[in-house]
């Protein structure tokens, strides 16, 4: 547990309203590739909140009020421009018996880290059904497979029967069958859990805004590169890599499908909420997973197209370039200039600035490992270099390469944030 002594006055003796306006402007300027007054800092505390608060990660996930309290305290102590806590909580996943996630205290020790359990949840022989009607396949075949409490949905008639007008009503009796009814109840529980989580999320950012903190870049809709969409929760790593060789045409056709409905989702989300950001975490496109030739055929075309269409619809993609993208930066330079943003984990951040400085707002710059295992001098010196080189002429948001700060030492985080404020002034 880390004892926080909150400072008596806020940054620059300003009011929360002034701070909120300034910080929001700072983030907006960086996003638009303009030069703000100084480099904005975003902290995604994640499990670091549990460490600082002396509670288990399970409690952090499940006690929303406690999480909010710890987040506010941490934000006030470090005074970044924007802050966030956890990405997700287990409510809906537990309600449906989600087999593809593990949360602390549920399949993991109370202090474990949330993880995905990847599997081949979609089999090679499912491709035809997926291509024919992804929604019908997902609800009647896939959900019963991945969500243990929704197994009853496999008893539903083909969903196309819904188009049978008054005759479709003849089929409604199936909803009374015990397994289907149980699935609907579980779904209802998940709806309640998710709605509560959404409300808590909203309240969190409202409370942070009242304290003077801008909205993090992560907040908005979430979609995936079509290749990752097919890989992460459907075919799994082994399956998708075999598909590249065994059924390339089907894979490409499936990617086109999930490009279309994901775009419709993100555009509708933008219209309904007014929120401009769209988070796209990437997984299998980085250096090392596939050859450049395969990348050009299977990964990049739909990801590029996705970002272009989002931009056309006044949405700013915030893309997490996980891993190393050093060999692929030239492709990223094809994206609409000044309209996209990217968080870089392990790429050479100086090279990223050189190649993409006039294309996208760059986020990142600090390695999580340095905040855990480095020294104060090292952190200060590195921060100075990043501010000077990557921060040059704006278009940069300082943050950790991984947007989750478990294990980071508070005293080093303080040194880093303070050094950014010192060296990051334009």
């Amino acid at each position: 547990m880390f004892e926080l002594t909150l400072p008596e006055t806020r940054e620059g003796n300003k009011t929360p309203e002034q701070l909120f306006a300034e910080r929001t402007q700072r983030m907006q300027d960086a996003l638009a590739l303009k030069k703000p007054d100084r480099i904005p800092i975003q902290l995604g505390f994640g499990y670091m909140l549990a460490e600082m608060g002396g509670i288990t990660r399970q409690e952090l996930h499940e006690n929303g009020e406690k999480e909010m309290e710890l987040l506010e305290k941490a934000a006030l102590y470090f005074e970044p421009d924007s802050a966030m806590g956890l990405f997700n909580n287990p409510g809906a996943a537990l309600a449906v018996g989600d087999r593809m996630t593990k949360f602390p205290g549920h399949g993991l020790p109370p202090n474990g880290s949330f993880q995905f359990v990847e599997g081949e949840y979609m089999k090679p022989e499912d491709y035809d059904a997926f291509l024919d009607d992804p929604a019908d396949w997902a609800i009647r075949k896939y959900w019963p497979r991945v969500f243990s409490k929704l197994e009853g949905l496999s008893l539903l008639p083909p969903l196309g029967i819904a188009a049978f007008g008054t005759y479709a009503l003849f089929q409604l009796g199936i909803f009374k069958a015990p397994p289907v009814a149980a699935a609907l109840r579980a779904l209802g529980d998940a709806v309640e859990a998710q709605a509560a989580a959404d409300a808590r999320g909203q309240e969190t950012f409202q409370r942070l805004a009242k304290l003077g903190f801008a909205l993090p870049l992560f907040v908005g809709s979430i979609v995936e590169a079509p290749f990752d969409f097919m890989s992460d929760t459907l075919r799994g790593m082994r399956g998708i890599m075999l598909d590249i060789h065994r059924r390339p045409e089907k894979l490409i056709a499936a990617m086109e499908k999930c490009l279309t409905f994901q775009l419709e989702f993100a555009i509708n989300f933008r219209k309904a909420t007014g929120m401009k950001m769209c988070f796209i975490p990437l997984h299998r496109g980085s250096d090392g997973f596939m050859s450049l030739e395969q990348f050009e055929r299977f990964y990049w075309p739909t990801l590029k197209n996705m970002q272009e269409v989002l931009v056309e619809n006044d949405i700013i993609p915030f893309v997490f370039y996980e891993g190393v993208w050093d060999q692929r930066l030239k492709y990223l330079a094809e994206l609409p200039k000044g309209k996209v943003s990217g968080l870089f984990q392990f790429s050479d951040i100086f090279k990223v600035k050189e190649v993409l400085g006039d294309v996208m707002c760059i986020a990142g710059g600090m390695r999580n490992s340095m905040l855990q295992a480095g020294t104060a001098e090292e952190v200060r010196e590195w921060t100075r270099k990043v501010c000077e080189v990557v921060g040059r002429d704006g278009g940069f948001v300082m943050t950790t390469g991984i947007g989750e700060m478990e294990g980071c030492r508070p005293e080093l985080v303080k040194v880093w944030v303070d050094a950014t404020k010192e060296y990051g002034v334009y």
């Binding site: 993991l108 880290s113 075999l242 065994r246 395969q294 490992s369 295992a373 989750e404 294990g407």
Partner: protein, 209 residues
């Protein structure tokens, strides 16, 4: 020995390779020679992986072909055969982390480079590593991790090995998604490898081969 079979496997011609194996077996070919062809093909796959010609799709497909061919050949084998290995490597993803992609690639590459690998899987507690060092007696221990959580698990594992009095018996390498040099000194491991080839180079440097 069939150069054509070696080429088919190495060039990722899956159905052709499998058809050739069936034909060879039906015509009374030596099953051991077929397995030897597989080994030669896997060496080529490993080399192409090192040269950045092949990537994960090819490693996985090669693994599939090897499995399918072995299954075809097995009924024809009279006894199990195993050659002399370069040395032993104990491998696993550290406690709290269930990622296996990087670990599996390291396994594949060490295997094609003739190391005997014992893979403990994922989420391996420190005491399990200690226990297996005692029974398997590897020269090298390789710790994998993807999550930032693995930093402290790696440290704990090295610590447990030291406390068990086994630290000078093994060389310890670490690697994986979020791991770097800094974590190597933090965890007090002997070396950090940025990819599977680095793991092979390190193992060869320590053991020879």
């Amino acid at each position: 020995m069939s150069d054509e079979l070696v080429k088919a496997i190495a060039d990722m011609e899956e159905s052709r390779a499998l058809a050739m194996v069936k034909e060879l077996l039906a015509n009374g070919a030596d099953p051991l020679a077929i397995l030897d062809d597989c080994r030669r093909a896997m060496e080529i796959v490993g080399e192409r992986f090192e040269q950045n010609v092949y990537f994960i799709p090819e490693l996985i497909l090669a693994g599939e072909m090897l499995k399918d061919i072995s299954a075809e050949v097995k009924p024809y084998l009279k006894q199990n055969v195993s050659g002399k290995k370069n040395g032993k490597v104990l491998l696993g993803t550290v406690q709290g982390d269930i990622h296996d992609i990087g670990k599996d690639i390291v396994n594949f590459m060490l295997d094609v480079n003739n190391f005997e690998v014992r893979d403990l899987g994922v989420d391996v507690p420190p005491e399990k590593f200690v226990e297996e060092i005692k029974s398997f007696q590897p020269e090298v221990v390789a710790l994998s991790g993807f999550l930032t959580l693995s930093y402290s698990s790696m440290k704990d594992t090295v610590d447990a090995i030291r406390k068990a009095g086994l630290r000078d018996k093994v060389k310890i390498m670490i690697g994986g998604g979020a791991v770097d040099e800094q974590i190597c000194s933090y965890a007090k491991a002997d070396a950090f490898g940025k990819d599977a080839m680095a793991a092979v180079t390190l193992a060869k440097g320590w053991i020879g081969g």
